[in-house]
Symmetry: C2
């Protein structure tokens, strides 16, 4: 007889996790990276140097550098953010987190109560939408066009919220390689967003974890770099650029805010080996590494786009991303991507249904997010072919497959 824990568990817990059954044969979900691009041996070589020099720090919580995390890594991040985004950053205002996800959880936990409102891009990271729902927070989507969140739409939403007597807790934005639209917000809109946040007196939470994965050119200045009043909380990550398995991200905020978030981080610090390895690896290698990774990802994006065109034809509408790891696809109105996700999953193809990636689930119903960073090119082609077969079987579209009229 098993002890029944049910009466002891909180009644409002999420549903139980399922057993992990391995990844789908064609894995087009999640933030997985290109396996061949992970600089594993170089990270270990860097780590060996640090540990040989500084290994005794492992005997201390926080590596003797306090709760913010390993100081040399924070110093590198500060330099990198200034060089790449024009954002002067004090290493004392950087908190190392377990991926940017922990940063997101800390910000949400510190600011949000049930019934609160958050403003965000109307298509959005499913993990943030589900977090906000779990917290009982209302989110209001703002239309995204090819240039990211529309500032006229943001102004309308803010005015409407104010008219309704609501002060949103923050504007959550992914300005560079927005998830899932892959759009990039230009500098004028960034300035406009900050101006609107000023006008309405509302913080901005800027999530920048894809920003180093633009195919070409420099990443735009961060919104936080335009702000001299500490109104923007910023998060970034090495997950998408070096390796997701490292689980190393960071929050940047003025000390007045960061010092309030820190007591919510009760895990005794993040993994030391990742912090040490990155601190030693990045100064000499990060720039060249991300330059190479961008080209690899761009080539995979082109493979994915070509496969979508080949197997879906005009049935699949999408904008070619300027960077990142995913394409946001719109299918004809008769397609329900929740149903497609189930059927495709049964056929070994994992995709993200748009309903989970949109503030208005019904808007996402005919849309899907498809990630291309992890599968090899042949897998991308084969997987999209199979997805098209499944879609045709379920919904009658695409009409043709593999350039052959059905």
């Amino acid at each position: 007889m098993s002890f029944d824990f049910t009466p002891f568990l909180r009644a409002d817990l999420p549903p139980a996790a399922g057993r992990f059954g391995g990844y789908a044969e064609f894995n087009f979900v999640g933030g997985h990276s290109d396996a061949g691009s992970v600089p594993g041996d170089a990270l270990v070589a860097a780590l060996a140097k640090v540990v040989h020099r500084d290994g005794k720090l492992l005997a201390n919580y926080g590596l003797s550098h306090g709760a913010l995390g390993y100081l040399p890594l924070r110093e590198y991040i500060a330099t990198m953010l200034e060089d790449r985004t024009g954002m002067p950053t004090d290493p004392g205002e950087i908190l190392i987190t377990t991926g940017s996800l922990q940063g997101m959880d800390l910000v949400n936990e510190a600011l949000l109560l049930p019934g609160d409102t958050v403003i965000l891009e109307d298509v959005n990271y499913g993990g943030q939408l589900s977090r906000l729902r779990k917290l009982g927070v209302n989110y209001v989507g703002v239309e995204v066009d090819k240039g990211g969140m529309r500032m006229d739409a943001l102004a309308d939403v803010l005015a409407a919220q104010k008219a309704a007597g609501v002060t949103p807790k923050f504007i959550y934005t992914i300005p560079t390689v927005q998830n899932p639209s892959a759009t990039v917000m230009g500098l004028p809109r960034r300035q406009q967003m900050l101006d609107l946040a000023r006008e309405y007196g509302i913080p901005i939470f800027e999530d920048d974890c894809y920003a180093d994965l633009l195919w070409e050119g420099e990443r735009p200045q961060t919104i936080r770099s335009l702000d001299d009043q500490g109104q923007v909380i910023y998060c970034g990550s090495f997950s998408k650029t070096v390796a997701p398995g490292l689980r190393t991200g960071y929050l940047v905020a003025d000390w007045a805010v960061l010092s309030r978030l820190m007591p919510l981080k009760t895990d005794g610090g993040c993994g030391a080996l990742e912090q040490m390895a990155l601190a030693e690896y990045c100064p000499d290698h990060y720039d060249a590494h991300v330059n190479a990774l961008r080209q690899t990802l761009k080539a995979k994006a082109e493979t994915m786009a070509a496969a979508l065109e080949e197997y879906f034809g005009t049935t699949a509408e999408f904008e070619m991303p300027q960077g990142g790891i995913f394409i946001w696809v719109t299918l004809p109105a008769e397609v329900d991507t929740d149903r497609l996700t189930k059927a495709a999953g049964a056929a070994g193809v994992a995709i993200n249904p748009g309903s989970e990636w949109a503030a208005d689930a019904s808007y996402g119903r005919r849309r899907l997010r498809i990630c291309f960073a992890h599968p090899e090119k042949q897998q991308i082609r084969d997987g999209v072919a199979r997805l098209a077969e499944v879609c045709h079987a379920e919904f009658g579209v695409p009409l043709r497959s593999a350039n052959v009229e059905r």
Copy 2:
């Protein structure tokens, strides 16, 4: 002008963190380990092998082994727990956590609501007491003697709770090298605790993170090993045995419970490098490593005990610990260790005041926890000497110092 975040932060947040100012000259707090015992180079050498073989897994969240964590590490933990504690464990019922602290947070979050009650040893880990207070949970202390939690006292507490109509959410226990009493609960009491938990239908949360640090003999069977009904949730850690900086712990529970805890772990997994390094290092090296570490810690404990005797004489009462990293000291009734902690801190000596380490703060008022794992032996002697000076200056005791009558 700075943006004022105050109206946007939850009103019930903990106080702001302070800036880290470095450790005290004599650091007798925290779970820091012996720096010379950290097997840094060996961990890196192990990691190099795994990454060379399996480095591509870093491209995946969860290293392709799902949310429970890196499978080879879970397999090692399962083997180790069976060998060392007689606890057959399924690697599918082990969740890798960021230290045992994250495991504790997951259990607390899943089971506890404000107003709930937890039963625990009456002197206890300050971090768990502060977590429970933050959650608005009542805790009821059960007397600890030289053999750990007294089972007659536990029976009385459980009966009294039942009479009051209260069903405690769980019994939290650190049965082996209890924090801070350093006591070890023998097998008969473990069986009695399980029997009482059965009788009252209450779960047990067994925290075993010091269990491999007994100076001599085998660690006792875990309470969970006596339980065939899944009533015990168990946590362990490599922090105290390999290195705190690694932040690698684990939860063990039947799937019915573990699957409810897992969705609360929203960080996308724990650091991969630590998991890989430990999985490769431990099978060949863990046993010899902890055997050596135990002797090192025992020698430091003896140094600490000798220093306490030398500088405090009969003023300091304590039991010599059978393992672990701390000694629980009782001072005369006129001493207030909150005040002593402040004065000692100003003099460069960090200690844990007993009020933070006792369910009844007033019981802890004349007591303190003093950790000996991190400082070198001369630092232990010098730090205790300075502590005795401060104590004498503040409270007039000890009367003699350095064997010289004042």
